[in-house]
Chain length 338, copies 2
DNA sequence: ATATTTGTTTGGAACGTTCCAATAGCTATC
DNA sequence: GATAGCTATTGGAACGTTCCAAACAAATAT
């Protein structure tokens, strides 16, 4: 039966006493200083194990005026790509010796604002934000000017001065569209997404420019907006088929939208990949394994994480980071677009 | 142009000076004490706005020996139900005036251990853990005895003394199976899940007992384990049809497994809901909107969150919490099982 | 008028760490 | 053998808050 009491904590002083050194030496060990002898280091570590010492980050952070917390403010945890992204970010952040504080804005600007206000109180190293729709440049800039480094990811805020990490959206849908054109498809629609988010405009632009470059007719009505979830995909496909019964292929705003569209095709008796070719965006884990396997534009969450941490490193070194990193994408051709 | 400097922070002393009160009074306002006059309170709040004061939780937490952080250690953020669960938990936790620290073990015990070791350093109020397979009772008990309250959710650890919140798994699959039996199906298989996790055993038990109660043959070979993702569902269904070509219905370990199974059916030319009835578990948001809409056993993430916080409240009040809360489930009948 | 109660406000100490400047213990140099 | 130049170690102060016991102010009771 262990002790439930929290009356008296084990502190560096206790460690110091047991190890036979001063508290300062213990502190040097804790901060992994170079200038502590191997002998002292071992003594201290042994003492810590022995008496069950737990480092108190509150005290450390208070005194040193820097924490090891990085805030990740994600737009929607229940979106599978967002979840994948968080995992990728977390990995790189922890490799930097930092700890991620993940919060979910749920695409709600006010909630986002509230969360960030709270997170400031923890003295976080930086805010990594995938901004909710409606986030203003002023807000991100103000936050930055208050001394909190901000990095925007996935979505761009026009006028914002904070460094931003983005996938090469334009190139992504452009490659996807070119791929479909090269397979001989002509009546190609763009499904899903909505104007409130910057990536919609970029992905749409890639599609439009590729169609133009291919000299293929692409009327406005081929651009069908929807919610960026499965249900949105279903609705968008239904609408698309009403507008263009001879639809040959679709470029989707995201894999999730593609999933919905494929479901709807089946419901309407159209064979996905056979009668209507499909390319998604994100390349979720499931896309490789479904049937037909889904062609998709892969955004490597690991690369996004790496790029974000590259900026984070610069910031910690007090150097000026690159203001924008475009992470390259890759078109993965699978059965849904043959 | 704001100041980038962090040389000198604005503290309670500055607020006190501006408000014309003592730092102690400012502190009382910050901790929302009853015994500060309305007049002082307003003066202090005005002063805080005026000079842009940011509360320093490190200092507060250090002095008061209690933080407002609750650790949520989730098994797999990329699992859609887990993400939904986190959102439900977060809501209730924030309603208690606490802040969630979400970390992802990725079903890896060692990573889980490392994360918890780190989180201890933040002096968290409690650990809410959906334990990775392989988590031992000793580990959770030790953690608890060290003075860190632990609450297990979704998965039970036999021999563990920590309070646990679970959905009524047995009843869930039992209802699902009874429902299929009442529709006249007889050759009903149980698909997905694996023995490393406690909920598998419970869900399997519900199915087995309902089949027995219905006096319907249910050989061991009707129980087909798999990974608990989409791909696992696909494989499980394929295997099931090899073993029993005249399969009439399936009870799935989770909705995600059901999604995979449904995909595979389509690939093999079997109509889900028409030729093979399907019931899932979790009731993900998508399940309502897909086609055919998926019957499922709903675990209300909000209820799990509420039950967990009920325990958390008891713990904070130093009272003994209930050692186990069984959250009721609900069978949602939709088109996939008519 | 004085004593008592009630309710607010207050300065000093404390939380557990890191920072800093000073010191001690070396070794190498002259 | 004295001095300089390292390197490793050290005690005291500081970070910004809350706790505590004491002081004060206002209202009520005697």
């Amino acid at each position: 039966m262990g002790s439930h009491s929290k009356n008296k904590n084990v502190t560096v002083l206790d460690v110091a006493k047991v190890a036979g050194v001063s508290k300062s030496t213990v502190s040097l060990v804790l901060t992994q200083s170079e200038k502590v002898s191997e002998k002292s280091k071992l003594k201290v570590q042994k003492a810590m194990d022995e008496i069950g010492y737990v480092y108190n980050r509150d005290a450390a952070s208070l005194r040193s005026r820097r924490s090891n917390l990085v805030a990740i403010v994600i737009n929607d945890l229940t979106n599978p790509y967002a979840a994948q992204l968080v995992v990728g970010l977390e990995k790189h952040i922890s490799e930097m010796g930092l700890f991620s504080m993940i919060v979910n804005s749920g695409e709600d600007v006010e909630r986002q604002q509230r969360l960030v206000r709270n997170l400031k109180e923890y003295n976080v190293v930086a805010f990594i934000i995938c901004p909710a729709p409606g986030t203003t440049a002023k807000w991100t800039n103000d936050l930055n000017n208050q001394g909190f480094p901000v990095i925007n990811i996935m979505r761009e805020i026009s006028g914002s001065k904070v460094p931003t990490v983005l996938p090469d959206n334009v190139n992504g849908t452009s490659l996807a569209t070119q791929h479909l054109l090269s397979k001989g498809f002509r009546r190609i629609a763009f499904l899903g997404g909505n104007e409130a988010i910057s990536d919609y405009h970029e992905r749409l632009e890639g599609y439009v420019s590729a169609m133009k470059k291919g000299k293929v007719r692409s009327p406005k009505k081929y651009q069908i907006q929807s919610e960026t979830n499965r249900h949105g995909g279903r609705q968008a496909l239904e609408k698309a088929l009403k507008i263009e019964p001879d639809l040959e292929a679709i470029v989707c705003f995201s894999d999730v939208v593609a999933y919905g569209a494929i479901e709807k095709m089946r419901e309407l008796g159209k064979k996905p990949g056979k009668e209507i070719a499909v390319v998604g965006f994100d390349d979720l884990k499931d896309s490789r394994l479904m049937s037909p396997s889904l062609s998709s534009v892969k955004i490597d969450a690991d690369k996004i994480g790496a790029a974000t941490c590259q900026i984070l490193k610069k910031i910690r070194e007090q150097k000026k980071p690159r203001s924008k990193i475009l992470v390259d994408i890759e078109l993965i051709e699978r059965d849904s677009s043959q």
